[in-house]
């Protein structure tokens, strides 16, 4: 049997099995999911050859499955993160009911994503895209009645995207006579100087999943209200499916536009780049006023996707490389951070940063993961996040001449320090209250996936070349020739470099020296005290005094940036919704539902016919 069919079959039978097994052995649903994904990953990485394809036909529609170098990047990302997230999920979801429902949809979502990666024709691409959308929608509404509206919002935007995509696919068949993606590209379906309809419609379809402004409004709620073991892949991997599609479309547009400075293409670059930049800024400033850690991370996901889209929009070697690198790194650290929040939620029952604080001593491994992931998120050297940010800035400055976009992106990533700190401080630092004394570290099966992700971030900071290799191969597939990369040296087109080996060496040496100095010097005289033993303006705080500072943490920044907070895309969409409702109300005045009114309409119509009969029926 063909390996691609086998994998799809295992997915569907795994979904069915995890649903049925829940009736008999409720605990084994999660384990079934985990083992399904492990088996598939094993099959995928051992049996599937890159650039192998298999063709078959459904009716008279030619279809094609396969993996190329570009989609292989995303396959690593999806499978790697799904394995860890499903392992994490076993204990995280332990005490919930309707696990069969949850896990079967979980597997179907992963199946949808891997199916998208396999699909090399638009029909199966669309089918798997819809499987992914629907099963993730069912998980978004898993948490019950309160999440229904959130689910509806997600569904509406997904439907907008799906219709846009479908219309593009139909137009491709009509205009270029094929459903096979590579043939469509060869036939010039994405030649932007010729037709702008197909690429734009496809981009809209992908932008919904990639949460690009103005189509992002579903994301913050949907991310934060789903179970965290799912959000980990929802934000980490699923949003990257949008990036996958945008990458193909944009790269084809850039490589096919015969005239390098064609006006359409320039406009498209600017529009997408600026949309990405504005998405990043707005999502960041909304992230830093959140008090719920989940919501904070959800907004931050939208912001990070904005950077990736900025990178893709440049269309230069370094820019696209930065985008793909950031896509992988974002999956790693955001996957880890959602797992951290999930662990905190499971152990304490809340993720509201105004309610819990000072978990660092109780959950040290969780804190370690959070710290490493946040450093990567903020783009501070020497972790993997910095590598991506560095390439993005260099691409914008040296290659695409988009100087003001650099400032917008930089503003967003500086403001990201604020919410990064807020996240760590809110959950792990600050006052340790008595109410949190009983809290314990999360179980090992949850910690292991988190710590693995944190270690990946550390390794990719020292040796980003590990990721550059598949990325460079993928970019070769997209039509970029001579993509240079080095194991640990980053170089821009002007020849300047940042040498991660030297950076890591310096940081490591200084770290060891100073850490030893501080620890050994006066070791016996160093006393560790609790958070109540502080100099509170010369007074000794009593046991029950509330010294927590968590509410309105960045009020000064909010005041300074007040004009930015006045605009909200959510409000604009709501206004649009209200306007539409008003129009529909008006039509209700015509279709009253009263038979007498309809009879009146018939009479009026006949009268009009009689009056104009001469003009209408003169011949």
């Amino acid at each position: 049997m063909n390996i691609f069919f086998l994998i799809v079959l295992i997915f569907f039978s795994g979904a069915l099995l995890s649903f049925l097994i829940n009736k008999i052995l409720p605990k084994f649903s999660g384990i079934t999911t985990f083992s399904t994904i492990v088996i598939i990953s094993f099959l995928f990485f051992t049996q599937v050859e890159i650039n192998s394809t298999t063709q078959f036909s459904l009716g008279d529609i030619q279809m094609q499955f396969g993996v190329n170098n570009y989609t292989f990047i995303f396959a690593i990302l999806v499978l790697g993160l799904s394995i860890l997230a499903s392992l994490y999920s076993i204990k995280y979801m332990q005490h919930n009911d309707r696990l069969g429902y949850f896990y079967s949809n979980y597997i179907l979502t992963v199946a949808g994503m891997l199916g998208i990666i396999f699909s090399q024709d638009f029909i199966s691409f669309f089918i798997f895209w819809e499987i992914m959308t629907w099963s993730s929608y069912l998980i978004v509404i898993y948490n019950g009645y309160t999440t229904r509206n959130i689910g509806i919002k997600y569904m509406i935007f997904s439907a907008i995207g799906a219709y846009a995509m479908l219309s593009a696919i139909v137009s491709i068949k009509a205009g270029y006579g094929t459903f096979i993606i590579s043939e469509a590209i060869e036939n010039g379906a994405f030649d932007f100087t010729d037709n702008i309809y197909i690429p734009i419609m496809l981009l809209i379809g992908f932008a919904v999943k990639a949460a690009l402004m103005p189509l992002h409004v579903w994301a913050p709620n949907a991310y934060s209200k789903s179970p965290m073991s799912f959000t980990s892949i929802f934000s980490g991997a699923m949003s990257k499916m949008g990036i996958l599609g945008m990458g193909i479309v944009l790269a084809s547009i850039y490589s096919q536009s015969t005239d390098d400075n064609a006006f359409n293409v320039l406009i498209l670059k600017q529009v997408i780049g600026w949309l990405g930049g504005i998405t990043a800024v707005m999502a960041t400033i909304y992230a830093l006023i959140q008090t719920d850690a989940k919501k904070l991370l959800a907004y931050s996901s939208v912001a990070q996707l904005g950077y990736i889209i900025v990178g893709l929009s440049t269309g230069t070697k370094l820019g696209v490389m930065a985008a793909l690198f950031l896509a992988i790194i974002h999956a790693v650290f955001k996957g880890a951070l959602f797992m951290v929040v999930g662990a905190v939620e499971r152990q304490t029952g809340t993720t509201d940063m105004t309610k819990i604080s000072g978990l660092i001593r109780k959950m040290p491994f969780t804190f370690f993961t959070a710290l490493v992931s946040i450093i990567a998120l903020a783009g501070i050297p020497p972790l993997g996040g910095f590598v991506g940010k560095w390439m993005l800035y260099e691409a914008l400055i040296t290659e695409s001449n988009n100087y003001f976009l650099v400032i917008v992106v930089f503003f967003s990533s500086t403001a990201a320090f604020l919410y990064s700190y807020r996240f760590l401080f809110g959950l792990f630092l600050g006052q340790e209250e008595k109410e949190t004394n009983h809290i314990k570290e999360a179980p090992y099966s949850m910690i292991i996936p988190m710590v693995i992700l944190a270690l990946i971030l550390i390794v990719t900071g020292a040796y980003p070349g590990i990721l550059f290799e598949p990325i460079a191969n993928g970019m070769h597939y997209l039509g970029f020739s001579d993509v240079n990369w080095d194991m640990s040296v980053l170089v821009n087109v002007w020849g300047e470099e940042s040498n991660m080996a030297y950076i890591n060496l310096t940081i490591g040496v200084v770290f060891v020296v100073i850490f030893l100095f501080l620890t050994i010097k006066g070791y016996k005289g160093t006393r560790y005290v609790g958070t109540k033993d502080i100099s509170s303006s010369g007074e000794i705080p009593t046991e029950n005094e509330n010294l927590t500072y968590q509410l309105d943490f960045f009020r000064p920044f909010q005041r300074a940036a007040a004009p930015l907070y006045k605009r909200s895309m959510d409000k604009i969409w709501n206004d649009l919704g209200n306007a539409l409702e008003a129009i529909f109300n008006f039509t209700r005045k015509i279709y009253t539902g009263n038979g007498q009114t309809y009879a009146l309409f018939v009479v009026i119509f006949l009268v009009i016919l009689l009056i104009f009969k001469d003009t209408l029926f003169s011949n």
């Binding site: 910095f386 650099v406 930089f410 401080f425 630092l429 850490f515 560790y528 005290v529 940036a561």
Partner: protein, 314 residues
């Protein structure tokens, strides 16, 4: 191996130089400020005495792991940045690693210390520290904008992102970047007011209001180590500005000992004069609230930065 030995020696020498200069400048400012306020003031070497006192304390209080690590982050950031900026252009004594990291890297590395310290301050549980951190980070978002605008202007004007290259260009052409892009320099100068945290931007660690803010829970060896890191940081910022805008220091064509000494002398004069800008500005200004400070940086300094970029493009 000889080469490696020389490099390590150079690195240690650089660190000692940065530390000494930073500490001394701090002492001079204390003295000058006192004289301006009609006090007698401490001696110039007072900072060294303070450091000695702090480091020789017998008991130290730590508030847990992040509190213990806070000074480590600061020193890491300070020394790493110091290694990656050119101290003297093309000098054999201070070769370090200035070819292996560019401006974008330096920008990010410079916030490493502040964030690490903020985390340490956060673990102490003192609300004053948290308030100070909130203000400090907000203010940072303020002054980073004109600073980055200025740097981007330089980078695109000379098509290089390396500090070393920028210094070399100024040496070769003989035109300082103050004159070739004055708007960028002004934007960066305004940003430096916020970086040094003298008045009017000193609300972050306001002693009377916040009990010194983020550092209020640190003492003994921790405070001492942080102070050393802060001194190195002051030196770094000044040296970076000198190399970016004021023609740099050192003569790459001449590598004798006298050339080195002359270079050092020029570096000290330039950095000291530059240092006096935020200090003078502080003497004559009261304190801004945080949102006022942020608005200040997003006003004229940002406009100047944008003009600087336009100047560089056209």
């Amino acid at each position: 191996m000889e080469d490696l030995g020389l490099k390590i020696f150079g690195a240690v020498l650089t660190t000692i130089l940065g530390f000494t200069v930073g500490m001394t400048y701090g002492g001079i400012v204390r003295k000058l400020t006192a004289r301006v306020q009609n006090r007698y003031g401490p001696p110039v070497y007072q900072n060294f005495l303070d450091l000695f006192k702090l480091q020789s304390k017998k008991t130290n209080i730590a508030h847990g792991f992040m509190g213990h690590m806070a000074p480590v982050w600061i020193i890491i950031a300070a020394v790493t940045v110091l290694m990656f900026i050119p101290i003297l252009n093309g000098d054999l004594w201070f070769p370090n690693l200035s070819f292996h990291g560019d401006l974008i890297f330096l920008l990010y590395m410079m916030v490493f210390g502040s964030l690490g310290m903020a985390l340490g301050a956060g673990q102490s549980g003192n609300p004053n520290s948290a308030i100070g951190v909130s203000r400090g980070l907000s203010q940072m978002v303020g002054f980073e904008i004109p600073f980055v605008l200025a740097l981007v202007a330089l980078m695109i004007q000379y098509e290089t992102t390396s500090v070393q290259e920028l210094t070399q260009i100024q040496h070769d052409t003989g035109v300082w970047m103050v004159f070739s892009n004055p708007f960028a320099f002004l934007a960066a100068l305004f940003a430096s007011l916020g970086m040094f945290r003298y008045a009017p931007f000193d609300i972050v660690g306001a002693p009377a209001e916040l009990a010194s803010g983020p550092i209020s829970e640190f003492g003994g060896k921790y405070l001492g180590t942080m102070m050393s890191g802060g001194a190195i940081f002051a030196f770094i910022k000044l040296t970076l500005y000198v190399h970016l805008f004021l023609g740099g220091a050192g003569n790459p064509d001449n590598s004798g000992i006298f050339a080195t000494l002359l270079g050092l002398g020029i570096l000290l004069i330039k950095t000291f004069l530059l240092y006096m800008v935020p200090v003078f500005y502080g003497w004559i200004n009261p304190r801004y609230r945080t949102e006022q400070a942020i608005r200040y940086f997003w006003g004229w300094p940002t406009a100047l930065g944008i003009i600087g970029i336009l100047w560089a493009v056209y």
